[in-house]
Amino acid sequence: MTETATETQPGPPATSDRSRAENRLGWKLVAPAVFVMLLVTAYPMLRALYLSLFQYRLTAPDDREFVGLSNYITVLSDSVWWRDVGVTVLIMVVTVAVELVIGFAFAMVMHRIVFARGVIRTSILIPYGIITVVSAFAWQFAFSLNNGFVNGWLPGVGADYNWFGGTWSSLTAICMSEIWKTTPFMSLLLLAGLSQVSEDMLEAAKVDGATWWQRLFRVILPNMKAAIMVAVLFRALDAFRIFDNIYIMTRGAQNTESVSFLTYRQIIEQFELGMGSALSVLLFLSVLLLAFLIVKLFKVDLASARGEG
């Protein structure tokens, strides 16, 4: 089968009319998306970068002074920053790992279920549709001493146990709330990937005598690689920026503060735009680093297409 070469080859790039037309079409299709994305973020991102070089408090604009990289140095040498990074990474790893397993199980169920389809599939997706703030409040209330039911239901936990009184118990409550809320996100993306696995291949494997386990690891998962990567990527990056649950449940007390919350406190609570912008840039760079690592880990190139699967 003849095919125009898609991968770059050593030598001059093809400049046929066809490929130039394709180039233009490609850019025309992509332009609206890029325009919208940059309209909202270009100026703010550049401004954040610019402000991070200043000591600037919004309510004292005359005291603004250029300090170069001093904000960055303060942040990187402060134990508060590293503690928060540790907490954030911990939450991210735990929630993404758990959600991957549960989400995949849910995706399989949504894919295969034959009875009460609509009900089960809808139930799986509802947690994602509950407004985050309400979900956080509900979970906080569930774990609270005065108004919650968790203490009453869990055997071995006294009625006086204060979940929000210690680091690990607080983190458990926060992770539970986060996992419950965002597993549907994971399972939805995994379902989309699962639905693309060819039935024929599975049948063929079954005929060849492969067990359920082997079918899962040899046929299904490899063919879902792209979907799994997108799911893990976006979920991990979101988890790294966790904010709502911490804001509502503990406000960062008991060493449960995340990097996002730290940034919020600087920018919004104290209007320290200089330091806050530096934190934002650092947060952004960490997230980019994380994304880079994940993409490399999965070795999937989304942009290469055209039958190279």
Binding site: V80, Y161, N162, A253, Q270
Partner: protein, 426 residues
């Protein structure tokens, strides 16, 4: 299939746009300036209430031939209110004319130059504590609307059994011991939020000290928490945290969580004035409800009760400054303060208002006198434009209460200094 919803949606947008533009054309026609007053939310009116409630009611009554006052609500939490207002004032938004501010924001807003100058006569007749919370750099910058104070609420039966003489001032040590002996609880606010700093500040001031001094210097203010007073305050907190009288959820306790344990098993609690109306429906507890002045930190030294409330400020960027200044006078007048107090239970900031018969019907006169005195001799939180930062820094070292010890004042002093000078990340 996808076309129909799009058509409907497009029609919906067109209708919305049309109606919005019609509404915009309808408003602001008579030429009278419309002052927009950004208010914090008032509690819900009782079901049988007739008329306009709370601050919206004041706005109505103060609107006259010269100007109309309209209210816009801000979010419920004080932090969110501050964020909304600061952001708009920093952008010099002309749509904000009047605003209801928590006293701790006074310094920040004044120092940033967002408040218009007020005539100093507005403070005549106001209680001292309220004036302190409304001034910056020796000037009155906002007008007190109502003032809040904390007192010691207690279960009379438990105090009796413990042998405490509540007609005399009591100290924290006394009530903690009494509650521990009787199996009761002492309710305080010790969550990681500003309410905890209110308590710490009250303890400090009660021992004759302060968190900071010379706050007009802004970031160069002197941090004075590391003092004898600081250590006394830390002692009280540590004692409570380690005693059986501490509530199980001490590290997340706030004004609301302490109400439950106050009913059962009972004990003592420091809380704002709203408790009177909140406990009323619970007749068993209400009959046993006693009240006294805020406890002393050190025996013999008069306590400095916390003070809160709401002040009304005029934006520097308003187009109708004359009208706004007149409006402020009307809003904080004695009649309006009394009406507001009778409606919402939020106490007036003017001394004369406490004589009002309507108010004396709703609340026992001794209670009113107690509140009046508490507000007049209150210990306001240090007015600093960096108050938010200071709160965060204090909380960093003093929360949770169970971790407070003898060295806490010293640690927090150096930490606050570092944060204010930008050497440490908060």
């Amino acid at each position: 299939m996808a076309v129909r919803p799009i058509r409907r949606v497009a029609a919906g947008i067109a209708a919305a746009a049309l109606s919005m533009s019609v509404l915009a054309a309808c408003g602001g026609d008579s030429g009278k300036p419309v002052l927009t007053w950004y208010i914090n939310p008032d509690p819900n009116p009782p079901p049988d209430f007739k008329g306009t409630f709370g601050q919206a009611g004041i706005a109505e009554r103060c609107s006259n031939d010269e100007y109309t006052i309209e209210t816009q609500i801000l979010p419920q939490s004080a932090t969110e209110q501050r964020i909304q207002l600061l952001r708009r004032l920093a952008a010099e938004d002309k749509a904000v004319d009047l605003m209801s501010l928590d006293p701790v924001f006074t310094a920040e807003f004044a120092d940033a130059g967002y408040l218009a100058k007020l005539p100093q006569e507005l403070s005549d007749g106001m209680l001292q504590g309220a004036i302190d919370g409304a001034s910056w750099d020796g000037q009155l910058v906002v007008a007190p609307l109502w003032a809040n104070t904390q007192i010691l609420w207690y279960r009379k039966s438990m105090a009796e059994k413990a042998g405490l003489d509540m007609t005399q001032p009591v100290t924290w040590d006394q009530i903690i011991d009494a509650a521990s002996d009787q199996g009761g609880k002492v309710g305080v606010q010790a969550n990681k939020y500003e309410g905890y700093v209110v308590w710490i500040n009250a303890l400090l001031q009660g021992a004759g000290g302060a968190l900071l001094s010379d706050t007009e210097a802004g970031a160069d203010a002197e941090v004075t928490v590391d003092s004898e007073a600081g250590r006394e305050a830390a002692k009280v907190i540590a004692k409570l945290a380690k005693s059986p009288a501490a509530e199980a959820d001490l590290s997340v306790s706030n004004e609301g969580t302490v109400i439950g344990p106050f009913a059962k098993p009972g004990g003592f609690m420091v809380n704002w004035t709203f408790i009177y109306n909140t406990v009323k429906p619970d007749t068993a507890t209400f009959e046993d409800l006693g009240y006294a002045r805020y406890p002393e930190t050190v025996a013999g030294e008069e306590s400095k009760p916390p003070i809160g409330g709401i002040n009304v400020g005029v934006s520097k960027f308003t187009d109708d400054r004359e009208a706004a200044l007149k409006a402020v006078e009307c809003i904080t007048s004695e009649e309006n303060q009394v009406t507001y107090a009778v409606e919402t239970g939020n106490m007036p900031a003017r001394e004369a208002a406490y004589e009002d018969a309507g108010l004396r019907e709703q609340f026992p006169p001794e209670l009113l006198t107690l509140w009046l005195n508490s507000i007049d001799t209150a210990g306001p939180r240090p007015p600093s434009p960096y108050w938010g930062t200071i709160v965060g820094a204090v909380l960093n070292k003093w929360h949770p209460a169970s971790s407070v010890g003898d060295g806490t004042p010293k640690q927090s002093a150096s930490f606050i200094k570092n944060v204010l000078s930008g050497d440490a990340l908060l």
